[in-house]
Point group: C3
Chain length 270, copies 3
């Protein structure tokens, strides 16, 4: 009985501890694992990316609870989604969608409406405590998903940038007339710049020919590293990171600082 | 067997991990839940507020361990307090008092003196490891509270600001001659300004008439939101937060930054 | 079945959560305890010091997993070391060495080579997830250490500064001709300056005579406190901290800020 937790609550306040208290009050045998609580405030995209990159490393039956919920207390719905291996719970604001797209099959979607499982009185600012925590706990303990509310057809999709191939006039320097254009979707604690360009897309585009990786129009590097140490300390490199995406890094340093980079910045492969 | 932990040790060092190691060495079946370890250094008031707002969400029998202890190694006492549903352990410096005031009954207070349960040699700087951790572990495992020391009559109270109603000359702008005056007692990670004005006090003061909420003399808003989304993004609002207190917030933003606010600042209701 | 975790992964990303998911996927009964995840990026010395100061507070049989691994994906080895009471797992880059030196006996060292326990495909950037997590999980579940790879003779030692006694010309102010010279090896979250001068070395050097503790050439203090409160708030003091080392602190303040101190700075005892 495992519940993973992904929120933007931070660790300075008591929000996360209170959620855990509520869950353990329902069954003290539940195992709680923090994915992160440092998602930037209300940043649904970042949370969705973190969930997508994490959920499948948890054992079958894990309930993934995500509370990044800028619309808390409004009419946005709260949902449970069942896939063959997992349950996902969160506000229906797109935060679950990147993970759900990866799952082969959606078995059931329920809009959480049954107040019987809520902590009363339900506040308007902390559904993590009053709705999501008790629902997740009862669910992981074996309650049928349909007890929590009413079936719902789809779920909110997230606008998430996909890489695309663009036809261009022959590039003066690189001599190419096609560019694979992606962007930075996440920057981790080490300052690694994680792009939305996945290995297979990259390989298909590049084939066996020479290529140039550019951050904006600035050329970064023309090869893919096998590991960080192939490049001298303090120098930039490209590598397929642990999520399978192309990353721009600096060996023993921060590519964020090196390039002054930020999420959303364009990455081009010529 | 649950122990909650609330400290100012931070998560950068090994303090919290070591405390957990000591506890699990006594019984590996104990469940540990962090409330927060990011209490500002030695800030007894903030810790007391966090404990008060958290403890009752934990299941009956939980041992709440608080180590915010600027007087560690001095003659300040260490105590265990038993209430009908919980145990509280910490230095007798007031950090437990806000939670204890909320409890209906204090069943027992013990000054921790029995060195049999201590980790020897007891350091003068880390009683969290050498005294509090082993005592909490043995207590949650079922040891009688009286084994840990000698009974004690009261506990240190904390000076904590209460809201008060002040008679004034008729206010030029608001036309009132009474003001409910409270203050900001906590600012959370989202920048929400949590006041000490609880819902029932507010309601009783305001009744059904018009009111004005002011931060210092600056008028903030004249109504209470049901949720954040009622107010446009980036604009300030007032709401009863998850602790039942009046909070000043900014929808999808930080009221701390918006108002340049800090703990202790006066909040007035006209 | 306890695994302690010490990494430089931070808590903002999903690295630590994913490692825990992998471990619990092998056995959900495993107990996970964080020592710290805020080791400065790639700082092997700081991690080694934290491990040394923490590991022995955990119960017998604990697997201590350390992933501070700037050489990930290169040819640096990954090792398991068995001592009478613990297992240690990490990259063979010296990060385990300070703890191992403290252990009376090394029973076995194995270079991790058996891919049967790895999460395939093994990434080149996240061995924490793909190698260390599953190996630690299988090990704590009772697998024989020799199943994980091939025996290895020694392990990488860390260059770690030791205090030394230096003969000098008679000091003008202090009138001594010998100085015990150490340095700051760690600064904790409270700003306490932890030196590498251990209590017994200090005592032996100083004996019963008068002494002067200097940070660089600046005289700090001429006595050792029993506790922080002996010194007025905001003033500096010296104390033997919880690790048994000489620390320079400021009562209810930060010695780091007070002295503008940093790791590596020289501390002299005259």
């Amino acid at each position: 009985m495992i519940i993973s937790l992904l929120t933007d609550f931070g660790l300075r306040d008591n929000f996360v501890g209170v959620i855990k208290g509520v869950i353990l009050g329902i069954d003290p045998g539940i195992k709680l694992v923090d994915i992160s609580h440092e998602v930037p405030q209300g940043d649904i995209s970042q949370a969705a990316f973190l969930l997508k990159s994490s959920y499948k490393y948890f054992p079958c039956g894990t309930v993934h609870l995500v509370v990044v919920d800028p619309g808390v207390g409004s009419r946005r719905k709260a949902i449970i989604v069942k896939t063959p291996r997992y349950y996902f719970i969160g506000p229906d604001n797109g935060v679950l969608s990147l993970a759900l797209e990866r799952e082969k099959r959606i078995e059931n979607i329920v809009s959480i409406t049954n107040r019987r499982f809520f902590l009363e009185p339900v506040s308007n600012t902390f559904h993590g405590r009053d709705i999501f925590a008790p629902v997740a706990a009862h669910l992981v303990c074996g309650r049928d998903i349909n007890e929590f509310g009413i079936p719902q057809d789809g779920y909110q999709q997230l606008e998430f940038p996909s890489p695309k191939i663009i036809q261009i006039r022959k590039h003066v320097t690189y001599g190419k007339n096609r560019v694979l254009q992606g962007e930075i979707i996440y920057i981790d604690h080490f300052g690694n710049l994680i792009t939305n360009i996945q290995k297979d897309i990259f390989k298909r585009f590049v084939g066996k020919r020479r290529f140039f990786i550019c951050l904006g129009e600035e050329r970064v590097i023309g090869r893919i590293n096998k590991n960080y140490s192939q490049t001298p300390k303090g120098s930039p490199l490209s590598i397929f990171g642990s999520s399978g995406n192309l990353e721009i890094s600096v060996n023993c340093g921060s590519a964020r600082e090196y390039f002054g980079a930020s999420v959303g910045q364009i990455v081009k492969i010529y």
